[in-house]
């Protein structure tokens, strides 16, 4: 007796389903690989972008306020001494820095031209305090870290004795009416520099905001 082979429709359908399933899996794998590759590129680009941004942001000082808290005027109403309280913080991404490694300097014009020294008052952040303090306590904080607001009181005054009478009456950068002086912060010796204008108007008084 000759056996007749009868096509099994259920088996054909099963094989077809398997083929479609495998095809879909392959397609999914290819799509996943393509997407992962592009994702990697995107991450790499972001990473390199972030590194560049980090170079810009590293070690910058953000000043939110600078106000005159005390000022002394001479007989002609010209300032001879001023305390300026500065509210500041480190820029995002900046590492923690020892307070003595952040230096500030106020630069102004040398009134005794043509001597080319730039006149300045200088210091570091050793006296900085947190926002609860007055910015004048050497032992208050040892490190300046991102995310904390600090206060620093700087004194601007003459630095040299012009006529050998023991009184500092020349040089330095006490405020001068209608002048703009430069407040500079430098972390370490170089490389990260932030500068701000200290704008003085005609009649300076306590409570006046300079930035």
């Amino acid at each position: 007796m000759r056996l007749r082979r009868v096509p099994d429709d259920d088996a054909s359908a099963g094989i077809s389903s398997m083929i479609i399933f495998i095809a879909l899996v392959l397609v999914s794998a290819v799509v996943a690989i393509v997407l992962i590759t592009f994702g990697q590129e995107l991450f790499q680009n972001s990473s390199s972008d972030a590194e560049d941004t980090s170079n810009v942001m590293y070690g910058k000082i953000i000043i939110s306020n600078a106000v005159i808290t005390a000022i002394d005027l001479d007989a002609n109403e010209n300032p001879t001494y001023a305390n300026i309280q500065i509210t500041l913080e480190l820029s995002p991404g900046a590492p923690t820095v020892a307070d003595e490694d952040i230096k500030w300097s106020v630069l102004c014009q040398n009134e005794n031209q043509p001597n080319r020294d730039r006149w300045s008052n200088d210091g570091n952040l050793e006296a900085a305090t947190t926002a609860n303090g007055d910015g004048g306590d050497v032992g208050a904080v040892d490190e300046i870290e991102f995310g904390v607001v600090y206060m620093l009181t700087i004194s601007l005054h003459h630095t040299t004795d012009n006529n050998n009478d023991g009184i500092l009456d020349d040089g330095g950068c006490p405020p001068n009416n209608l002048e703009t002086h430069t407040l500079v912060f430098v972390i370490g010796n170089s490389g990260s520099y932030t500068s701000w204008d200290l704008r003085y108007d005609e009649q300076l008084e306590e409570g006046e905001i300079l930035i």
């Binding site: 077809s16 393509v34 230096k103 500030w104 300097s105 031209q113 080319r116 430098v186 010796n189």
Partner: protein, 373 residues
């Protein structure tokens, strides 16, 4: 009957095949669309970044332009934009332009090598003169009746001077200062002395404050001696580990009534106890003379992320020329010329194979150090 059943199965098979092919085509279309979208998604930020990089990298960021000297030079504090490749001085150029009072246009230019500068290009830093002695600020406390160190942060000192050392022996009279003569008060006053102490070698140092009344000493930001309160002339010691070189030093003192005295001494395993000498004490006094080349290390290759200072010099700037190619006198665009004639200047900074940055400025004062930008 069998034939009909066979036809139905063929139709189902054909239908399934058509469905399969349709699904395949649809899947291909979806895949192609997704790949295209992914490509666009990846390329858009990349192209934006490329555009942004082209706009920002290989350019010069100007932090400050100031009067270097009133005659012809300008000081520039600048850095290469992030993403820039390091550049040598011959790849960077400056152009200074202005009009003279007659309306004639002038231009000066040069590169970032020492030949085009007043002094060699160098890294910017806050450098000050280390003048001998400590800055001494005296405060009048008359009527305050202090029993402990008063807060001085927001007070204006009544006298500011420089003291060679801290050596005021106990006296019922008034102190005699090194440079101011006698203090106007024998009682109820404060002193705040600050500056730097030069430490000869790494090691542990012992500091002593002998005072009447209270005093405190900080070295390198550390409270080393806390001798506060009302008391007679008595010493108190403290130890601190210091590194060789300049360390900050801060002293606060107050006198209520009676005798007054304050002496600062130090000792180390290398030397016996002594009054801290003037030679070891300094304080800041204005920025270092820019003419003193020894203070600066010349830079020939400029890196992004580092701030530099240059002094562009019209005299050395490849000779100033105007549009007609005439050699012109160098200070035409100098601070004095611009200030006295109320003229504007313009500076352009060019990175070879990169971008340009320009700014214009006026000169409100021609004195050295005046900030222009």
């Amino acid at each position: 009957m069998n034939s009909r059943r066979f036809c139905d199965k063929a139709a189902v098979g054909m239908g399934a095949m058509i469905m399969f092919i349709s699904t395949g085509i649809l899947a291909c279309l979806i895949l192609a669309t997704m790949i295209q979208m992914a490509e666009v998604t990846a390329q858009t930020p990349e192209s934006i970044m490329n555009l942004a990089t082209r706009e920002t990298a290989d350019k010069i960021i100007i932090h400050e332009i100031y009067v270097w000297d009133e005659f012809d030079n300008y000081g520039i504090i600048w850095e290469l934009a992030p993403g820039s490749e390091p550049k040598v001085g011959t790849e960077l150029f400056w152009i200074l332009q202005c009009e003279d009072p007659t309306g004639e246009f002038w231009a000066f230019w040069g590169d970032f090598t020492t030949a085009s500068m007043d002094i060699p290009p160098h890294e910017f830093s806050v450098k000050t003169k280390a003048t001998p002695g400590l800055k001494a600020e005296f405060f009048n406390n008359q009527g305050m009746g202090n029993t402990a160190l008063p807060k001085l942060t927001n007070r204006i000192p009544d006298l500011i001077t420089v003291e060679n050392d801290i050596n005021y022996g106990s006296t019922a009279g008034v102190w005699n200062t090194d440079n101011l003569g006698n203090l106007p008060w024998g009682d109820e006053f404060s002193l705040r002395a600050s500056g730097y102490i030069d430490v000869p070698a790494d090691g542990t140092y012992t500091f002593e404050l002998e005072s009447d009344d209270g005093s405190r000493l900080w070295v390198d930001g550390t409270l080393v001696v806390d001798h506060d309160g009302l008391h007679g002339f008595a010493p108190l010691e403290g130890k601190v580990i210091l590194e060789e070189g300049r360390n900050s030093i801060n002293i606060e003192y107050f006198e209520n009534t009676g005798s007054a005295g304050l002496v600062l001494r130090w000792e180390s395993p290398d030397f016996p106890k002594e009054i801290v000498p003037r030679a070891s004490l300094t304080h800041d006094d204005n920025m270092v003379d820019d003419n003193n080349m020894d203070d600066w290390i010349a830079v020939t290759t400029f890196q992004p992320g580092v701030v530099y200072e240059i002094s562009i010099d019209q005299k050395n700037g490849a000779a100033g020329r105007n549009n007609q190619g005439m050699v012109i006198p160098s200070p035409t665009c100098g601070p004095t010329q611009l200030h006295e004639n109320g003229l504007e200047g313009e500076m352009t900074f060019v990175v070879g194979s990169g971008g340009a940055t320009w700014t214009h400025f006026i000169v409100p004062h021609e004195t050295a150090g005046t900030r222009l930008v």
